[in-house]
Amino acid sequence: MKNNLVTLAVGGTLIAAALQSCKPQNTSNVVTGNAAVKSYVAPGKYDEVYNFVSGGFSGQMSVYGLPSGRLFRVIPVFSVDPEKGWGYSEETKPMLNTSHGMVPWDDLHHVQLSKTNGDADGRWVFGNANNTPRVARISLKTFRTEEIIELPNSAGNHSSPFLTENTEYVVAGTRFSVPPDDVNGDVPINTYKQNFKGYLSFISVGKEDGKMDIAFQLECPGVNFDLSRAGKGKSHGWFFFSCYNTEQANTLLEVNASQKDKDFIMAVNWKKAEEYIKAGKGRKVAAKYAHNVYSDVTHSATSEIRNEVTVLNVKDFPDVCYMIPCPKSPHGCDVDPTGEYIVGSGKLAALIPVFSFDKIQKAIAAKTFDGAYDGLPIIKYEAALYGEVKKPGLGPLHTEFDAKGNAYTSFFVSSEVVKWNIKDLKVVDRVPTFYSVGHLCVVEGDSKNPTGKYLIAYNKITKDRYLPTGPELSQSAQLFDISGDKMEMILDFPTIGEPHYAQAVLAEKIQKNQVKIFKIDENKHPYVTKGEPESKVVREGNKVHVYMTCVRSHFAPDNIEGIKMGDEVYFHITNLEQDWDVPHGFAIKGAINAELLIMPGETQTLKWTPDKVGISPMYCTDFCSALHQEMQGYVRVSPAGSNVPLVWSVGTNQPKAEEAAAK
């Protein structure tokens, strides 16, 4: 009997212990054996893909190589960058000019590569500014921001920038509906339903030079536009916008904008809108907005304020916009490579609806409508629906595609990427992401001919992925090989800022077009100095213009005397080098701006207002040669009204005693 009791006791204890320790485990992160080989790019070799990643709240765009995950460049767009002098040099300050004045920061959410015939063409990449609504165009020859245009009547430029198939238009939509610029906006906030409107901007892009111009805007109901995509192929001429807050709430949107079971995807027939505008049906509206352009010939930016924009109210033209019901608070709205299927990702939904462009057209022709939203016809859900992907995961956000008819959707709440087949709406594979993926990017995954091969998941939560760095951690991204049937993680790398979206393109489309130097003969900067004999210092009242050159390893002039308190000194520095990768930097003590970083053949200007009498040294800040430490100079500042003559020189300003001894 005792034995039985003891047996009972021992057995019971062991069972309890087993129960305690055998909790179901996490999906273990097993990386397969050849991940290292797949993601390794040996020293001296190049990556296959350029990856342009939005910096989010850093206001920049970063350029990574795949599959190595190496960071090549952080392009300053909307945020000042003291390292490059962006927003600090006289030439780049106008780029950040807006109708509110010079704005030194913004929030860059999405990037879009320019396209021709639905495929990336390697000419430009576009980025949006969320806070002070603007769109920027960046050249892929120089990897610099060339043009920024502001958007009137807009707030919260989130659904932006998205391009049509041939880069006819860059399109932007508003996240925050507000009263338009030309009406009295001083209204109570709870008159949202009556007074607040959403605006879509269609910015035309010059075919040769990329110059942007707001062709027209569409005034829409006051919903929040989240993301959008252009149609391709058969659906070219249409644009699709995901809308949430169709409840039109103005407070506690967390609850009040999540009430309705279905919001909408708004289908916009922009070709029709274009026709109406051509026929003069748009109305001209007064609105102030800035347009800034940087030239690589004059190495300077110009900024102009425009005063007028053309607006079409979609309520008056009922064949321009149609609403398609979509569950629930949709975020992503993505068009598959054939242009037939439109995938809605409702971030609070537990299924993925896929709409058919052909069915939408049939429904419009047959007027299969289910009432209207603020005057815009609502197409019946079933009439537009191709099918639903059932129980794919929790919180779908964004979808991109490969060349084999598969779609890849990111799931924020269940922290995974799910691969599903578009035709039969079946889930094929799923992989966890670490942690909580936002957007993902497939190489050319939004074009007519996706490259596929790599998928990057951009996550919102990092926690324990890397060595910790205090409470603030970088964002994490995971690279997946999607060339096979199953997705395989091959790299986990941190990213700058907060990537919201990214685009990736084969390196060969961009690599060969790179500008290595600026030809000094073509330099048309108003203060260029083409050669040391032309260097000089010129006084115009209290403005002093220093025409300076730099070359390895000296400035000319490097000794300047005769500057006075109260002067505004402009150092116009021309880098005379014509060789690859020989920039020079410039800094002067007491300047309250930043350094200059000048590329070969370029001219850049730093403004300096001397604040005390005495000697200020200046020097080259970018290591340029064995004698970089010797590349320096001095400026003498005398009191206001002094009669020290304005002199400048390099090499000849010798001490007096030695001169006498030499004679």
Partner: protein, 164 residues
């Protein structure tokens, strides 16, 4: 006693089996070095001709007249002011690079043309260029000269050395 052993061993093995999937093992293998060797740095030195240098100019392809070509020389002087004058004086005095006086007597025309259009490989191979590098401590940069510019510069150097 027997029962106890049987039950204990059963329970222990059940414990081990069910709790086996606990560790997160990463099964990475070392990356195999399958990449090719980088290109060989320099070809055999025997193939380098110190009189001609390295580049597309040869004694045959270069026509040097016995009289100075005034137009070319003037153009060359302008280009020299922009692209060369920061580092070279036209006298014998060294600035960053050596002074130009007498260069056309020390070097052949084609050597000069090749050097100013293709300095990097020549600095690696030419013994005289390497000797100069030790003095100047700066590798002469490639100033992206066109063929015309290079020819004009050579003509200016000949003028500087007294040719009329």
């Amino acid at each position: 006693m027997k029962n106890l052993i049987i039950i204990s061993s059963f329970a222990v093995s059940a414990l081990l089996i069910s709790c086996g999937g606990e560790e997160k093992k990463s099964t990475e293998t070392q990356a195999t070095t399958t990449q090719e060797q980088p290109q060989a740095a320099a070809p055999a030195p025997e193939s380098y001709d110190p009189k001609r240098g390295e580049g597309k100019w040869t004694a045959e392809s270069l026509t040097l007249g016995t009289k100075l070509d005034e137009a070319k020389a003037t153009a060359g002087e302008t280009t020299a002011g922009v692209k060369c004058g920061s580092c070279h004086k036209y006298t014998e005095e060294k600035l960053v690079g050596p002074g130009w006086k007498g260069v056309t007597t020390r070097r052949t025309g084609e050597w000069i043309m090749n050097f100013i259009t293709n300095p990097d490989p020549m600095i690696d191979k030419d013994p005289e260029a390497q000797a100069m590098l030790e003095l100047c401590l700066v590798r002469m940069p490639n100033q992206s000269l066109t063929d015309d510019e290079a020819r004009q510069l050579l003509e200016f150097m000949r003028k500087n050395d007294g040719l009329k």
